[in-house]
Amino acid sequence: MNLKANYNKINGYILLKNGKIYDSFLSLNKAADILIKDGIIYKIKNKISEKSNYKIIDCKDNIITNGFIDLHSHFREPGFESKETIETGSNAAFYGGYTRICTMPNTDPVIDTPELVTHLINRSKSLPIYIHPIGAITKGQKGKELAEIGGMVESGAVAISDDGIPLNNSYLLRVALEYSKKFNIPVINHAEDSFLVNEGLMHEGKKSLKLGLSGNPDISETTMIFRDLSIAEYVKGRIHIPHVSSYKSLKIIDQFKKSGLNVTAEVTPHHLCLTDEILNEFNTDAKVAPPIRSKKHKDALIKAIQTGILDCIATDHAPHSIEDKEKDFKNSSCGMIGLESAFGLVNKNLSDKMKIESIIDLFTVKPAKIINLNPHLIKEGSLAELNVINPNYKWIFNENYIQSKSKNTPIIGKELMGKVLITINKGYISNCKIS
């Protein structure tokens, strides 16, 4: 079912009343009304008087925050438009409260030239989100020759990654980490030793034993993270670790952070909130790389997001068509969508452990810092780039409301807590859905 776009252009005035404002960047935390005129924050004040030409939105019990930023999404365009396009991905993002998306370059062609970076940014101009492309480390992601990293950064790339394909050539990783120092961007390596992975289909442990599926051990991740951080430390480079999945990786990240290395790390909602129990029915929607691991790992990841060893949430939104997923477990593609369920899933699992402001930080200021982004903040005169969130709203993740072109997620039918009700960005407002 193709839903039409779930947002409208803003005309005239919008008054957000009775809400509590939390701006992660400004450390602003207060109750106030916001009056938005033609997409720009016109006034922030207590009890702004209502006028007849204002569209009034009652934000009682809601928090008004910055728009979310995702460091890790796959929008599949160019090349795999049957799974997702920039439009449908953008809809999914906006509906999940995201105003900025970093797209991974493993499209067809791979995003490895300045021209392709510019193309993506241009494609997003008419859409309600900003796209910040991540460029490839190597040409065609083949792991052999450096891509035009400088040119891509100049055109707007915010990081480089050969995501999906680990950089097995350690020397090339060294070179990438050194070269990228000139351009002030982080290098993101998909940390899985392909040899240790050995075509493992799920986490190697008690569950894989019972299910009879080949196992992908946690050491495939940790050995590579150790290698990557050692190299980064040696050349004083800047590195960001994607989708951390194992508790053993956390010790290593902590150790290198303490020694002064400029390293950051992200975790996905699915690694943070699920365990490999989800694979009991061999549900291919839960087949991801790196795999979802056992409770011990999940608990450690949750602790790490609280202590700051893990810096932020990143969805690794990975749409796959029905054909890709309706296969036997071995041949099914890896990945799940995540933009629309991210906040609800994470908030549900962390709300008893962290303040709501700290949870929101994981979606806003923490990812922004990693790629030196300066979004529009919640102050007068600023372009409105914000979310209205009900952190206590319980809802079932319903397949029919998914904006993404693909529906591959095991979260369908699950109860989440916390929802982004309204997103405002670039003069657009998402369709209001208030409980």
């Binding site: 040409k139 020759e145 035009e148 100049e154 050194e178």
Partner: protein, 311 residues
């Protein structure tokens, strides 16, 4: 005229400041010889010199040959591609002939660092390093220093920038050794992965920003980008290198300053340096070539000459 303290010229790291200055001073004398209609002196008559080149070189080889012949020495050339030596012939075997031929001097170029230093163990001849892999190229640095001295009258406290693939450049390393010894300030610039990690330990500075280098320097020595490096994927593309490190016309126009431009050659016009720059009055590239012959004459004379130099 007193000889040098050193017996060989293996690298600028190994010879004294005094020796460097003497070579340069005598280089200027031979420069004058090269301006005469008869550009020859009998100083090294009867001396046998072997040009032992294990690596391709046209310019350095010709320059050495010219220097040797202008000094009236007897010259023998041995060219060997590295691969034929690898086929089993050891360095020692190749050069044992030199001993039996009673060569006074070997001018050697080899692709592996240290080969000329190892040569000391096998022959009695005076050894001149014409380039040993990514290690040193002392006569190139000497001609560079001579050219700078010719233009500015001094070396001390001058600001010399070197830009390019520093990591693989024997020209850069020799220049660094020589210039620092003579009191110049040196700063290198290039893609971060093409600058040695510990290079600041040689008492120089580094920057990854070529505009910053241009703003700072009195002299800019522009190194050739080896296209072979692009195949291996270390330099993403010519346009990327040129955009961020190229000494282009636009870039220099933006800075609008008097900057002396040098290049060891051969140039990749339009890559590391634009034609307008290379052919401009700021560039002293052709003087470098002329000084190359002169400084090599000076080195040969000071290491091999018995006679007093006629004025």
């Amino acid at each position: 005229m007193h000889k040098l303290e050193t017996k060989h010229l293996l690298g600028l790291e190994f010879i004294s400041k005094k020796d460097i200055e003497k070579i340069i001073d005598v280089g200027f004398i031979f420069r004058e010889v090269l301006e005469r209609p008869i550009k020859k002196v009998p100083t090294l008559q009867g001396k046998n010199i072997l040009n032992l080149f294990f690596e391709n070189s046209t310019r350095t080889k010709i320059s050495f040959e010219l220097a040797e012949k202008r000094l009236s020495a007897d010259v023998t050339n041995f060219s060997s591609s590295f691969s034929s030596v690898q086929k089993g012939e050891s360095l020692k075997d190749t050069v044992q002939n030199i001993q039996s031929m009673k060569m006074d001097c070997v001018v050697m170029r080899h692709p592996v660092p240290g080969s000329c230093i190892q040569l000391q163990n096998y022959v009695d001849s005076v050894i001149i390093n014409a380039g040993d892999g990514t290690h040193e190229h002392p006569t190139q640095a000497l001609l560079d220093i001579m050219s700078i001295k010719e233009k500015f009258g001094k070396i001390k406290n001058l600001k010399i920038g070197i830009v390019g693939d520093i990591l693989h450049s024997r020209v850069a390393l020799s220049n660094i050794f020589g210039l620092v010894k003579l009191g110049a300030k040196v700063k290198v610039c290039g893609p971060p992965h093409l600058i040695q990690r510990d290079i600041e330990m040689l008492n120089i500075e580094k920057t990854y920003n070529v505009d910053e280098l241009i703003e700072w320097a009195d002299v800019l020595n522009v190194l050739r980008i080896q296209k072979e490096r692009m195949g291996v994927g270390i330099i993403p593309s010519i346009r990327e290198y040129r955009k961020f490190f190229g000494i282009t016309n636009e870039r220099l126009l933006n800075h609008n300053k008097e900057l002396v431009i040098m290049h060891p050659g051969p140039m990749n016009r339009g890559v590391e340096i634009d034609s307008e720059i290379a052919d401009s009055s700021q560039a002293i590239i052709l003087d470098q070539v002329l000084n190359g012959v002169a400084v090599r004459m000076s080195v040969l004379y000071l290491l091999l000459g018995n006679n007093e130099l006629e004025s």
